[in-house]
Amino acid sequence: MVKVMFRDKEWEVRDGMTVRDAILKVGLDPQAVLPVRDGKLVNEATIIRQGDVIRLVAVISGG
């Protein structure tokens, strides 16, 4: 399984899918977040591997 984190939320998804699919699976907009794995930015087509921790960084700011 792969851990996906965004702010104070965490999910587990199956490995083998793309980062983009993982973002969609947890109900987020791929336009609104950037995926970071092991401290490095990864592109959305990256296949997530067993044991990965994907931290999603919020893109949108405002107010």
């Binding site: 907009d29 990864v42 893109v59 949108i60 107010g63």
Partner: protein
Amino acid sequence: MKCKKCGGVAVIGMRQHRLALCAEHFVEWFISYTQRAIEKYRMFGSDDQLLAAVSGGKDSLALWDVLSQLGYRADGLYIGLGIGGDDGCGDGYSVASQAKAQAFAEARGLTLHVVDIKQTYGESVPELARRTRRGLKPCALCGLVKRHIMNRVAYEGGYDAIATGHNLDDEAAVLMQNTLHWQTGYLARQAPVLPSTHPRLARKVKPFVRLYERETAAYAIVRGIDYIYDECPHAEGSKTIFYKKLLNQLESHSPGAKLSFYLSFLQAKREGLLSVQEKALELKDCQSCGQPTTAPGLCAFCRLWEQR
């Protein structure tokens, strides 16, 4: 996904530009794209002394980083609004964001001016908002206070232009909001550059105006810029974020839509299609601070403190 330049692993795909780039070439592209906007809109030259308005967030720190990389002379200005102190909101947001801005400046040997509103004027912006009863949130006063301080520091420091980290998503969201309500006055004033119209009002420039917020965030991450990830606690539910999300939905279905929307607006303005007449404003000097104002006597900023 491969880097278009070198074939290495891409860190970001940008459908709006039909481009995917690795970390090294993305940074190169980002800096070059910013420089092109600076030149296209004649924002400033290498002899100009710039004041970068920094909040500790990704856009403003990324901007300051890029200006520094491009060799421009840019000092920073951080304005401490006192958010998340005694306003019962968040957890010392202003303290945390100031720390990010200061750490950024120190690590790079850059000059950062800090103006703390409470220390300088006696009340934080949330306290001011409560006392003047201008709404429950300090947002109503935030812009007024920041603009006043930016103009004052720029004038006193002899800066030629104030650079802010506004990106394309910011501009497109504001444009959408202004268009939906046909705020023609605001539409007339929305531009990558606001020229100086008074000796005490510095030129204001937005070098990131053609860059997506996703791109500025990616730049900050790839460059290892330590910025404040938390949002201002008062930003929750803001209209700007609402419009940004709407525009992102459009962008998902039509890559490049946000950029096209904004650039077409600028084109329409250049061609006079909007035919918006800006009323000539008669500016006087505030009797207290000397900054220009359309009101008799004191400017809106000084009036806030006079009411105590």
